[in-house]
């Protein structure tokens, strides 16, 4: 990147913290209070894409322009293996005990025996439907039902893993380690299935706001959606229902991570501790993003409607499998190529 348009490197300052995160993940009132209490000025840079964030961080190398990044579960191991993050020292976070115990030692959160980030919001890939037009679907099959031709939408790369699972393959590639032929066969089967049913799709989308807009405008009646944007629509009173079909789906967690060589790492720890201080912060994050907070006590702070928007029946919760950190390179390589093929077809 030409120097003139390259972001300036972050300088070590006792009163500054540079955070890269998604829009609405860090509530403004929380940031205002944190800045006032700590005297640390928080500069928030928004991101909308994990790949873009990864590439920029990798390009900056030993001189990162940000102290903290927000990493999604499916990219977690990629950031770690590229040496872009530093392991988390929970001893520097007195309020660590306030993190929901289910997340304190989650298997996916530990890589090489170390914790690498603070889980802040959890979500899953669900089937969202407009209840005025689609009644209680039980299977991903409905996404390929001709009566909804031209009325579905999905993120191709995300739905590729769901389709693999729907067709009976391992969409997370965990069982394909050292078996590239099997993985390719499974990926190609999902790719061909999506190309064959391309006429079902109104639009391939990229951002959560796009699928929200399509549901509101009734351009689509059903679609694959992250739980956050869908739950937000439900909480806002739209006739949307989110479920996990019988074939199952994948869950993920967003973590706030301290960047390797971060100049203001100590300030980053102060922010992490402040996030965990009270359930109010977690509730506000859940309210704004739609994703479920990982902080203990948050459900008690939410209203009934907000709680219901993010709640699933127990049997559907059990169908969610968290993305694994295993065999990511093979998965990224094959899914990226198949995604390009589906779009180009």
């Amino acid at each position: 990147m030409p120097y003139i348009i390259r972001p300036l490197p972050s300088w070590a300052q006792s009163t500054v913290l540079n955070v890269t995160t998604y829009d609405k993940f860090l509530p403004q009132e929380f940031l205002d209070k944190f800045q006032k209490d700590s005297g640390i000025k928080v500069n928030v840079r928004l991101t909308d894409d994990q790949g873009k964030q990864y590439n920029l961080l990798a390009a900056e190398g030993a001189n990162p322009s940000t102290d903290m990044v927000t990493v999604a579960g499916h990219r977690y191991s990629q950031f770690i293996s590229s040496n872009l993050l530093q392991a988390l020292d929970t001893g520097k976070i007195p309020n660590w005990k306030n993190l929901n115990p289910a997340y304190q030692n989650a298997p996916w959160a530990r890589v090489d025996g170390k914790l690498w980030g603070l889980p802040i919001l959890a979500g899953y890939e669900g089937l969202a439907v407009n209840t005025n037009y689609v009644k209680d679907p039980q299977s991903w099959d409905v996404m390929f039902d001709p009566q909804f031709k031209g009325l579905t939408s999905y993120i191709v790369s995300d739905f590729m893993t769901i389709t693999m699972q729907y067709l009976g393959f391992d969409g997370d590639f965990v069982s394909y380690t050292d078996k590239p032929e099997e993985a390719l066969k499974a990926t190609n089967a999902a790719r061909d299935h999506l190309i064959k049913h391309k006429d079902m799709v109104r639009k391939y989308y990229d951002a959560g706001s796009e699928v929200q807009q399509m549901f509101i405008n009734e351009d689509i009646y059903l679609g694959h959606a992250w739980s956050g944007p869908a739950a937000k629509l439900i909480a806002d009173g739209h006739p949307i229902k989110l479920s996990v079909p019988k074939e199952g789906t994948y869950g993920f967690c967003y973590t706030l991570n301290v960047v390797n060589n971060a100049p203001n790492a100590e300030n980053a720890y102060k922010l992490l501790d402040a996030i965990l201080a009270t359930p109010d912060v977690g509730a506000s994050m859940q309210r704004q993003s739609g994703f479920a907070s990982t902080i203990s006590g948050v459900p008690e702070v939410l209203t009934d409607i907000e709680r219901a928007a993010g709640t699933l029946p127990q049997e559907q919760v059990e169908r969610i499998v968290f993305f694994s950190p295993v065999n990511r390179d093979m998965k990224n390589e094959m899914i990226d190529k198949a995604t390009a093929e589906v779009k180009a077809a």
Partner: protein
């Protein structure tokens, strides 16, 4: 004027009474410091040209050629962003991927088809508008008419794209109107189709056609049209024999600008297009947003698009415009 001429030649400023608008400049120009520095520089014609050209040249190099050169460099690397312990090698493999994978041809061909169609439609739609403003509207009202046409372009590309979404969505203004007047009982799927993409492209880039066309048509002497009418030429003959040939430069410039702009647009196809309208810029962006080490492939594809688009535009300009045609 006399004192300005003297200044340009580098001589001393005459000791005349200071004009009312300035009392300090003559003293500055006569100062020894000025005479030995900037004054000495501007007294030389070549140096004067270099000084005047410096800002635009630096601008063009830094903002236009620099990023393209950087992209060319990345396209020849084996891996980028460069990470510790992974020194890249120079390779043409990223270009070879395009030619070895037939799947990438279709988005590029699609981009050319949409860009060509949008250019043709824009020309047909905008030409009468430009003619109307340049030749029919009274001269004292032309600037107001042009201003009215340009106002929408002051809003950004994204805002105008979202306005099209609000217009064409299933619950958008057009479908609601058609339903309210009883013409339809179910919404017509207009958005996320080839129609919405084409509509959006024509709307968003018509400015690039309007201005060159207006400029060319405005220069056509009115007495030529009057003379042709006196000699019995009808409106169509006057248009075909006089207006069209004399506005050729505007047509070539407008078409080239619209084609080159529409082939590279990114946000509009992403927001207005459907599953069958994925264009090449979206394919390229996939490499930059995907897993690591794909920047070189994305950069190579961007260079392929740049070269093919410029070649197409150059061929068009040479065939239609002749040797003397320039872009602006």
């Amino acid at each position: 004027m006399a004192s300005n001429s003297t200044l340009v030649r580098g001589g001393a400023m005459p000791a005349v009474a200071a004009p009312a608008y300035s009392t300090r400049l003559p003293a500055l120009f006569n100062s020894g410091l000025y005479q030995s520095t900037l004054g000495a520089l501007v007294s030389n014609k070549t140096t004067r040209m270099v000084l005047l050209a410096a800002v635009p040249i630096v601008w063009i190099v830094m903002m236009h050629i620099g990023p393209i050169y950087q992209m060319l460099k990345i396209s020849l690397l084996s891996n980028y962003p460069i990470q510790h312990g992974r020194a890249p090698t120079v390779t043409f493999a990223n270009y070879a991927i395009f030619f070895s994978e037939p799947l990438y041809f279709m988005p590029l061909i699609r981009s050319f088809v949409y860009a060509t169609s949008a250019t043709a439609v824009t020309l047909l739609v905008v030409y009468p508008v430009a003619y109307y403003v340049a030749k029919i509207v009274q001269p004292d009202r032309r600037s107001k008419a042009l201003l009215l046409l340009l106002v929408p372009f002051w809003a950004g590309e994204l805002i105008r794209t979202f306005s099209i979404i609000m217009l064409l969505a299933n619950r958008g203004a057009l479908n609601v109107f058609l339903r309210d007047v009883g013409m339809i009982d179910r919404p017509i799927p207009l958005l996320y189709t080839p129609f919405s993409l084409g509509f959006g492209l024509v709307y968003l880039i018509s400015l690039y056609m309007l201005l060159p066309l207006y400029s060319a048509i405005d220069k056509i002497p009115k007495h030529l049209l009057d003379a042709a009418a006196d000699l019995g030429a009808g409106p169509f003959t006057r248009f075909r024999r006089i207006v069209l040939p004399l506005s050729r430069d505007g047509i070539v410039s407008g078409c080239s600008l619209v084609f080159l702009t529409s082939i590279g647009v990114f946000a509009t196809p992403m927001l207005l297009g459907g599953p069958t309208t994925v264009l090449f810029p979206e394919t390229i962006s996939g490499f930059f947003h995907g897993a690591s080490d794909k920047w070189p492939v994305g950069a190579a594809f961007a260079m392929i698009m740049l070269v093919s688009a410029l070649t197409t535009a150059a061929i068009f300009m040479r065939i239609v415009g002749g040797k003397s045609t320039r872009l602006m």
